[in-house]
Amino acid sequence: MAKAKTETAEAVESVRIPPMQRLLDNHFLLLFLGVVVPTVLYLLWGVMELSQIPIAE
């Protein structure tokens, strides 16, 4: 079971945690990325192309 650590121990540890691990532990940043990446690459890019279809003569 989890035990609360002392504030200082936590502070020391958080300094040493590698950035990639911090990203993977940051659930809301992941949520943000997971929504923004497909929204831009799939939805917005797609909508942009559809809005540029020329009119037939």
Partner: protein, 177 residues
């Protein structure tokens, strides 16, 4: 284990096993290869879907198709006109509930610009038994460059669900020498 938090606090710095590294590298390179394959086929391959598309009112596409049919009709088949355009011509085929119109007669080895659109709902242009499948939308004129490489009688099956008559929607393309 997978159901509990990682045992070491800092797991990102753990060493990755050699076999795993090899596999990751192979999988990554295979992905790059498969991606390049699609790009390369656009440059060197002969089967790519055209990007030539226009917005058009269904009535206008119908007029164009009727004018095309009138110009090139050579005979009738099952009550439908058969259009035989000259090689290289602009060819029209429209889809509506539940037919592909008109019937086409093309020459083997000649290249045609086939214009596809729908009068009503979405339909699926499925050329059989060649097995070329293209989605057809109302309001969009899709111009596909097509070169038949076989002779014979080919059917255009609708493979997008378009209501109760969907399974009766069959068109025809003849390819002659």
């Amino acid at each position: 284990m997978a159901l509990t938090s990682p045992e070491s606090k800092i797991w990102w710095n753990e060493r990755i096993g050699r076999a795993e590294l090899v596999w990751i590298t192979i999988a990554f390179l295979w992905g790059v290869f498969m991606f390049s394959m699609m790009v390369w086929w656009h440059l060197e391959g002969n089967q790519n879907l055209s990007n030539e598309v226009y917005r058009i009112a269904p009535t206008k596409f119908e007029e164009k198709t009727e004018a095309f049919t009138e110009k090139y009709t050579v005979r009738e088949e099952a009550g439908m006109p058969v259009a035989k355009p000259e090689p290289g011509a602009e060819v029209y085929m429209l889809s509506r509930l539940w037919e592909w119109w008109p019937i086409l007669e093309l020459k083997k080895g000649q290249t045609y610009r086939l214009h596809l659109s729908s009068m009503d709902w979405q339909h699926g242009f499925s050329l059989q038994p060649v097995n070329i499948n293209i989605q057809v939308h109302p309001g969009l004129e899709h111009v596909v460059t097509l070169t038949p490489t076989q002779t014979g009688e080919f059917s255009v099956v609708c493979n997008e669900f378009c209501g109760v008559g969907h399974h009766t929607m069959v068109g025809r393309i003849h390819v002659v020498e």
